[in-house]
Symmetry: D2
Subunit: 443 residues, 4 copies
């Protein structure tokens, strides 16, 4: 992910320094477990921990360069790290990584990084939920037109619209928690997962200390269905971001103008057209959603590793691990801020609602006619005729409102009382269930 769309707090999780820190932690914990089991000397484990902690605390760009230098020969990253570590620890280093395989370290480290990233994403989601809740309550009773097919349908409240997005993000939070437990897994089981050279209790020990579960059956690696499920969850969340972003883009369009992203003082919308105020944040979120979604397919393709593992997943994960979490972290943070500061125009909402001459109340009039005893088909025909009459003459001198047309239609006038029509034309009646829905999801 390019720096433009990265927050340092998430980028740090994917830094080489953090990776090596976790690698060491896994190795050190494994040594401590083996010492406890009597498989290696306690003193060796102590020295490994002490000197290793010191080396990691002092970890610098020089160390990075040294590890790279070794890898240039061995062409194996974990061996390069272990060789560097041995230089720091001395002879006791021979007890490090005993009976383990590189994947034990690599995969467990990847789990730790994904868990760290997920915990950040959960905070991000909470910020989004807080912003949505705020706006939902602020506009609980703000009447606006609901739209299907981008055509005016019936009135609703802007708060209720936002509440729907809140409910989706609440589901996304649940999905992310499930995704977290998919990948919060440790495997220290040796070359092909048989624990042939290492006591399974080492895995349990390390897992517990790292806040992970021990994998049920690992091959050489943690099976990649877990990671696939994880990236799928990010893809679903990204799509939820897109849905809300597209909503804001629609609301800000010049003909709608019901809401607007906050426009900073000094901000310029266009190099050529000084009048522009563009919904660039939500457009940006739309693109970021595409990017985050694009990681789903390679993650799925990573599942079918050959036999006990091949390493084709590695290059994929070195990219999509950071890219997806950094991108999503940035997007959620941007979304939270954007929704928190969203500028809403209730008067324009009402003006838009009324701009079609009242035909948006056709549904309730249909019901009123149906209740009067005629067939649904006849009622539909009558209402459609009057609505189309209004619609097609909108803004024309001979145009009349839906209500005027209804009042002049003998098929209606004889059947439905004016008071009933009054009620049918009252937008407020569409807010009748808002409290009930809010209670359901916010309490």
């Amino acid at each position: 992910m390019v720096p433009r769309y990265s927050r340092p707090v998430m980028t740090a999780i994917w830094s080489p320094a953090n990776r090596y820190r976790i690698w060491f932690e896994i190795e050190a914990l494994a040594c401590e477990a083996m010492a406890e089991l009597g498989d290696i000397p306690r003193e060796a484990a102590r020295i490994i921990r002490e000197r290793g902690d010191a080396a990691m605390a002092a970890f610098s760009d020089e160390d990075l360069a040294r590890i790279d230098e070794i890898e240039a020969v061995t062409r194996h990253d974990v061996i390069a790290f272990l060789t560097w570590l041995a230089e720091k620890i001395g002879p006791e280093s021979r007890f490090v990584h005993l009976g383990m395989t590189s994947s034990d370290v690599l995969d467990t480290c990847f789990s730790v990084q994904l868990v760290q990233a997920t915990d950040l994403l959960l905070e991000d989601l909470d910020a989004v939920l807080a912003a949505l809740r705020k706006q939902a309550y602020a506009h609980k009773d703000t009447v606006t037109i609901g739209r299907s097919h981008a055509i005016h349908a019936e009135p609703t409240s802007f708060g209720l619209k936002i509440a729907g997005h809140y409910a989706e993000f609440a589901r996304n939070r649940t999905r992310l928690l499930a995704a977290r437990s998919e990948i919060a897994v440790c495997a220290i089981s040796g070359a092909v997962g048989t624990y042939a050279h290492i006591d399974p209790r080492v895995e349990e020990f390390v897992a517990e200390r790292l806040g992970l579960a021990a994998e049920d059956v690992s091959t050489q690696v943690i099976p990649r269905d877990r990671h696939a499920a994880f990236f799928c969850a990010l893809g679903v969340i990204a799509s939820g971001i897109e849905r809300l972003a597209v909503e804001v883009r629609h609301l800000q369009r010049s003909e709608v103008r019901e809401a607007e992203e906050f426009f900073h003082p000094g901000q310029k919308g266009s190099s050529a057209m000084p009048h522009k105020r563009n919904p660039v944040l939500s457009e940006n979120l739309t693109g970021l959603a595409r990017l985050i979604r694009s990681h789903v397919v390679p993650a799925l393709e990573n599942v079918a590793l050959w036999h006990e593992r091949d390493i084709s997943h590695s290059s994929v994960e070195r990219n999509i691990g950071p890219d997806a979490t950094i991108g999503l972290d940035f997007a959620l943070t941007r979304l939270a801020g954007m929704m928190d500061k969203l500028v809403v125009y209730p008067e324009q909402m009402m003006a838009n609602l009324e701009s079609l001459g009242g035909v948006v109340h056709s549904g309730e009039v249909l019901l009123a006619l149906a209740r009067s005893g005629i067939s649904r088909e006849d009622a539909y025909r009558i209402v459609q005729r009057n609505a189309m009459e209004t619609w097609t003459k909108l803004g024309q001198p001979e145009g009349r409102s839906f209500r005027e047309n209804l009042d002049n239609d003998p098929e209606v006038a004889g059947r439905v009382d004016a008071r009933v029509l009054d009620e049918a034309m009252d937008s407020k009646r569409h807010l009748v269930a808002v409290d009930r829905i809010f209670n359901k999801i916010f309490c």
Copy 2:
């Protein structure tokens, strides 16, 4: 999905007849709820149920044709169905669909169909799990070589390999259950989800009768993040099928021949080469996995519907709903049968294991040397030298086994006891944790 990859039991769920049956059930239940609430006459609900049930029971191709005929005029499928239903029910039909919108019917019906399909898929998964369990136990102690990078790594048991796939499919079952609850949702909330024309208790009543949950906040539709999550789960399962299929394809290849798909009497592998016995089932499953996975992206693209809904998702779902579930049902059923009848060749497994002259035991020899007190790096160098010597002269007259080379290496002989090497060379030692793992996942 083409008929070749379809089972009638799943196809039936997606038939027009089943769809119309569910549509009627939703409408009838809604009427009963409204009758109970006093919103429509009880007698009307009774007549609707009675005549409707009769019409659905007698539903024929003629009815299908009649509905199509109406839709050709109205260009709206639900209105076409309701018009047909009105012809069957008579005047009471005016109480049908009162205050509802088409999506209430369409979306709730889609939920019911997906639930029906999922219940079938759960049975399929159980069959896969049973076949895997059977093979795992049958080959719990069958020694075979574990492979990473498709290169011999260390011995394992064939049963353990299968157990790993069992564990993955057990996770897939959990994921499918979660996916089921994602889409087991009912929405009867009107044109833009405000319940403006219908009591929310109608939704609750219908939901309960259909075994669904009532949606928290619907727009005009059930939000599509739910369906996206559902199709993602199918994609993950498909990838698990692919992993197992690829394993079988590898095992059957001419140079490996450790296992083979059952070859039917009369079956012909090739029109040109009568000697062929190809792993066509697992190859087919590999392709089906690609198909099922291909539904994930359009499902994710369906999430960002405009405002309270647009109808772009509809054409997507009309295809991927049936295609994904029919395809996965077929694939799982095929997989269960294939694994159940898989022909396993333990002798060939042992022959392959031994074909590299014993170098597959290099890891344990490395540990033995390390335990003797020399550094990991030196031990690695010694073992690698002897292993490569064996490997590069495999099958050549001057070639010697890994053990022979070790015995002749003064750096080894002086340090590691012959008995220790004997133990290191015993493949059975790799089965030490198998019981533990089996207890963990099968009990």
Copy 3:
């Protein structure tokens, strides 16, 4: 592809009958080539052709059933067909398929079907191009607002907007022609592409008769990079359909109403809201685009077949071959009709253009100010100030048009002549290059 989105003319290409007709044609042509080369008796080739032609001409459901019956035993579709064919032809059938492998037939047939499908798609594209050309010329001088970020930018002509889509579809036509030549390829080269049992001149003969090129190097199959490139081209075209569909959906939205899909007499937009006229065709096209695009990834995954081929691609192609071409044919046909009958509202376009008080001319005013000698930065600041003043008070009593604000701004008035501002505010000036562009693409 479900029947709802299928045209019989395309579906027929993918029917079993058409497939078997092509299979026979390939076999018969190969026999004729071999007869010419003296590899089989001329009389045999004559009889095969004669009796085969007769059998194919009389091909019925009974024949289909018979082939299926044989396949149920042999589990091999080509062998089943050849066995059926032998029943029809008699003893000379032993010269059929001599030295060929199933894939020679299957792959060449798939090429023929894809070519047939592509020729239909090319006609469809021509219909789309014709409709776009018609609308482009009809509205060459229809002034409308151009929008970036869905915010009013500067005026343009509606015809020019359409011309842009025309140019894209013209590019798509070129791409489809390239895609056609990718897959217009014949392979008759035997089991692993060595021509070991068949003269390469047979391939050349058959290729020429079928209007195909002979493959350069086939394995057992025609390499699947060709098909991947083909489906990519369809995916690009589908995305072009989506772009135009999204444009129409935007133009029809209630607040814009600049254009509208033709609404049929008798059509009903909603079961609940009789006033609705929804852009259902363009929404449908949006969904179809997602479907057609979804075939790209599995086609790409099909490329890496194992060794000289595995059969994993087969199940994929049995589905995406028909689905993508049937879906695209339907979508293009629908698009052509929709654009041909599109209802355009020039007055509403002008009303929308003017609705922002003239700020859409800010770019030209900026240039006028810059030409007056002040820095770009200062000019920008002045214009932005006046534009924002107009924008934020739109529709308010104290609101003034952009021109009024400029006239009252001493920083402007002193520098730019009123006549210059008049010209800057004239939308017609934006049509200056339209003829030039039209000449470039339509001539």
Copy 4:
């Protein structure tokens, strides 16, 4: 793309410095064109060019920081650059960007970068083609077994296998050239593509100087179908890399060992198993192929921008532009080196070919029997029986070779001459068309 999979020569193309250099070049050329047309003073264009060239030549991290600083206020990258440029150029800067819009610069720059990247990729492809050509000729007559379904089929030559990949990469070169001309396009047409404020001849001038074509119809941007087609081409190439990588992985697997990636001195295959030599390069290429393919879908999703453009494509392209080209450049370079140094084992190829007791010649025997006058079905039955007899008893004491079984089968012996069988069993006969094919593709 992480540095591990990046080559500096490609990364440099995507550096901010290169981007700003191109931005300036576009602006300077536009000024020169306008000067030539008399739209701005010649002297101004001269000064802009001179001072701008100097500023770009001296471009440093300080300049980068300054531009970032300005963007933090304006929130618009092009305006930030222009402001910085004005600081360098002085008052004449007011003639810079006159009548242009940001996208004129951004999109044309993106075209230039993609062209630069493509030219590098074309060189990479040439290196791959050279390596493949070398290996193809080196092993033109190296007999090896061809495999379908990963099951031995019939003999072929290793050179022919490589030639097939050569032909695919030659097609990929053609596709990349087509993709290059898709995106080698310049647009300088103003805010919504009308040339309202700029002479179309400016666009022509700049396009020609940059080696680009002028766009037929731009909106605010160059239409994104071009870029979608470009990324599709990269996806097809990536899939071709995967096919070859998978081939090498298969050939190197322990049971096959027909070829091997070069293993560097000092290289370590596994931290736990010193005997390992893994095909890590080809596995890595497999993963990289997934990554490069993953850019196809977001590129397709970028096509349907709203109206004259929205900016959702931008964040996508900022990532996939560099990622796809850097990744593909790295992958092609790695592939070229890997194939150039591939270690091939002809003896092992022959040993594998013979390991199935000669059944791989069943096809030719089938033909011999058919030629003897019996029906294809009978011939098939006889050959299949003898082949299966050999196959199922491979390595068993009572096992006999295919030839032995045939010799003992009265149905064969009576019909086919021993000399004919000798010929049928000669692998060399499968090389008969190799020269012909080589001439076709290499000359």
